[in-house]
């Protein structure tokens, strides 16, 4: 008797769940919304600003080619290589800037922590797949582009359950 009622109760709880709203995010059509514009770091106070650790963004007019980001990444993933850039920036005498290989990067953000000139941020862009290995290597020119992200879906909770609204 106990067994039968227990099984009925279990089935009932599954059936009740039919009335609960669907929680699945329909990914390519809907995209999750993140707080802020991505992970940034304030070197003066030594604390980061919360945000998604996605693809990096490089501000050419701040980067001095000091290589600190590359040194930080050496202990993590060796994803950053310093490459020559043609422009003769006054503040960047050696004309070198980071190039990031997303086939190796683990999105830890320690390079952002290392940059003392606010030149490297992380953005909300996480769709980085490519058909070739070379397509995963982002040159300084590609890193400069601000990603165009449309992310609007958030978790909404009401009496009928949680859903991605």
């Amino acid at each position: 008797m106990g067994t039968a009622s227990g099984i009925i109760r279990a089935l009932n709880s599954g059936v009740k769940h039919l009335a609960v709203k669907r929680f699945t995010l329909r990914y390519p059509e809907e995209k999750l919304k993140f707080v802020g514009d991505g992970y940034q770091f304030d070197p003066t106070v030594g604390v980061g600003i919360a945000g998604l650790k996605g693809r990096h963004m490089l501000f050419h007019d701040h980067c001095t080619g000091c290589q600190l980001c590359s040194i930080a990444c050496e202990g993590v993933a060796e994803a950053i290589a310093m490459v020559k850039v043609p422009e003769g920036w006054k503040h960047n005498k050696k004309s070198i800037m980071p190039q990031i290989d997303y086939g190796k990067c683990v999105f830890c953000g320690l390079c952002v922590d290392a940059c003392p000139f606010y030149a490297l941020y992380m953005t909300n862009d996480y769709e980085l797949s490519s058909f070739t290995k070379e397509g995963l290597i982002y040159t300084p020119a590609q890193l400069q582009v601000k990603p165009d992200v449309r992310q609007d879906s958030e978790i909404v909770i009401d009496e009928r359950g949680a859903t991605h609204g």
């Binding site: 106990g2 067994t3 227990g6 099984i7 109760r9 279990a10 009932n12 709880s13 599954g14 769940h17 929680f23 699945t24 999750l32 993140f34 707080v35 802020g36 991505g38 992970y39 106070v45 030594g46 604390v47 980061g48 600003i49 919360a50 945000g51 998604l52 650790k53 930080a72 202990g75 993590v76 993933a77 683990v106 999105f107 830890c108 953000g109 320690l110 922590d113 992380m122 978790i155 909770i157 949680a162």
Partner: protein, 402 residues
């Protein structure tokens, strides 16, 4: 073959004894044994490709349907984390040291950070202590939900695979807001945490944790009070209280056998001393109790998160800046710190030299300790009960190999 070679070399190394040439036939020198084959006994390899075994192999000997012996064979995912830690400085060790258990990455990193703080001599700001408690409790729930989903599918209960995997998303979303990454957060750092709470985090956290708590209570009807689950797990793989202590098990396995041991209560670290919570303890020591304790743990974790949000200082720094170059200034010392992770007590032993890199980092992981009692639990069980007993040990193969 191996036996003969070993025996020959052993007798060559042993001093010649006058009382007869070597050991009498049929008796081997100590330490060697001959595997006896019996027509009734069959040896099965479960794993390492078996989806149920995880990244490990179980060598199981069965007599008909009953297991007579089990030899767990971990080591397929050894990644040399401890060796890697000797070549990186204290901060750059963070991303790779959380890899052993990516679903519990904050807790895996926690003892390392506590130990590194002792060595580097940094104080953690008050607010950071609470943020760490919140992050580590949320992460613990994420881990347990993942474990529970696998336990469900191990027992053929696919609803119990879908529900925890879906509800986990509520907390992953919170961790993503807080740390910027869904799985490997790289959030804790010696000296605090890497960033402060984002705006409106408290509201979102209370809302989603509240709903999460309501959801996990619904698991009772469909899973924990389900007579089918109870009949499959109750009474299987019983670990007595004495054995649990003798084998040195920790975490949910130990608490399911009736030993009240939780490091958050026994040796409170960070802000756990001020948190108001209890630790669930069950007496039976069978697979059912072991599967129930983590579920009860999650409810306590939700309580801790709410408590920490309420008691947290409303402003202040969350990270103490490390001195730029500690080269040559670090003391030569050893520390051992441990925390309660999703699986049990997780320790980290750090030896520092006068160098920016640690001399040695040793992780003492709960998965490996809980694995030790497994042959004992499986002996005499039916083969069909193997998944129920195995996964109830809260075992994470990658962590055991690290």
């Amino acid at each position: 073959m191996d036996g003969t070679v070993g025996a020959a070399s052993a007798s060559a190394a042993a001093p010649p004894s006058p009382a007869g040439a070597g050991a009498p036939a049929g008796r081997l020198p100590p330490g060697l044994s001959v595997e006896r084959t019996d027509e009734r006994i069959m040896t099965l390899n479960v794993g390492p490709q078996h989806p149920g075994s995880g990244h490990m192999r179980l060598v199981i000997q069965v007599d008909g349907d009953y297991i007579v012996n089990c030899d767990p064979d971990p080591g397929y995912v050894h990644r040399g984390e401890e060796k890697m830690a000797e070549y990186r400085n204290y901060v750059l060790n963070i991303p790779h040291l959380e890899r052993p258990v990516i679903h519990d990455s904050c807790n895996v990193l926690y003892p390392y950070c506590l130990g590194a703080e002792d060595i580097l001599g940094v104080e953690v700001p008050e607010r950071a202590k609470y943020v760490r408690v919140i992050a580590s409790e949320l992460n613990k729930c994420i881990y347990i939900q993942y474990w529970l989903a696998i336990y469900g599918i191990f027992l053929g209960h696919s609803t119990m695979f879908m529900w925890p995997a879906g509800d986990r998303e509520l907390l992953i979303d919170l961790m993503e807001k807080l740390t910027g990454a869904r799985v490997t957060h790289a959030y804790f750092v010696p000296g605090g945490v890497r960033n402060d709470l984002p705006a409106n985090f408290e509201d979102a956290c209370l809302r989603q944790v509240g709903y999460f708590e309501k959801r996990i209570k619904e698991y009772a009807d469909i899973f924990y009070d389900n007579p089918i689950l109870v009949s499959r797990t109750a009474g299987t793989g019983v670990l007595s209280r004495m054995d649990a202590v003798r084998f040195g098990t920790t975490g949910s396995v130990l608490r399911a056998s009736g030993v009240d041991f939780d490091l958050r209560k026994r040796e409170p670290y960070d802000a756990y001393g001020e948190m108001d919570f209890s630790t669930p303890v069950l007496k039976d020591g069978d697979s059912y109790a072991r599967s129930r304790v983590p579920w009860l743990d999650m409810m306590e974790s939700c309580r801790i998160v709410r408590d920490a949000l309420a008691k947290m200082p409303k402003s202040g720094s969350v990270r103490t800046k490390l001195k730029p170059n500690p080269k040559g200034k670090l003391p030569h010392e050893e520390v051992y710190r441990r925390v309660e992770s999703g699986r049990g007590s997780l320790g980290c032993h750090i030896v520092s030299e006068k160098k920016p890199e640690p001399y040695r980092v040793k992780m003492s992981v709960p998965s490996f300790r809980n694995l030790i009692c497994m042959p004992n639990l499986l002996r005499g069980e039916k083969l069909g009960n193997m998944p129920a007993v195995y996964w109830s040990l809260n075992y994470w193969p990658v962590e055991a190999d690290r």
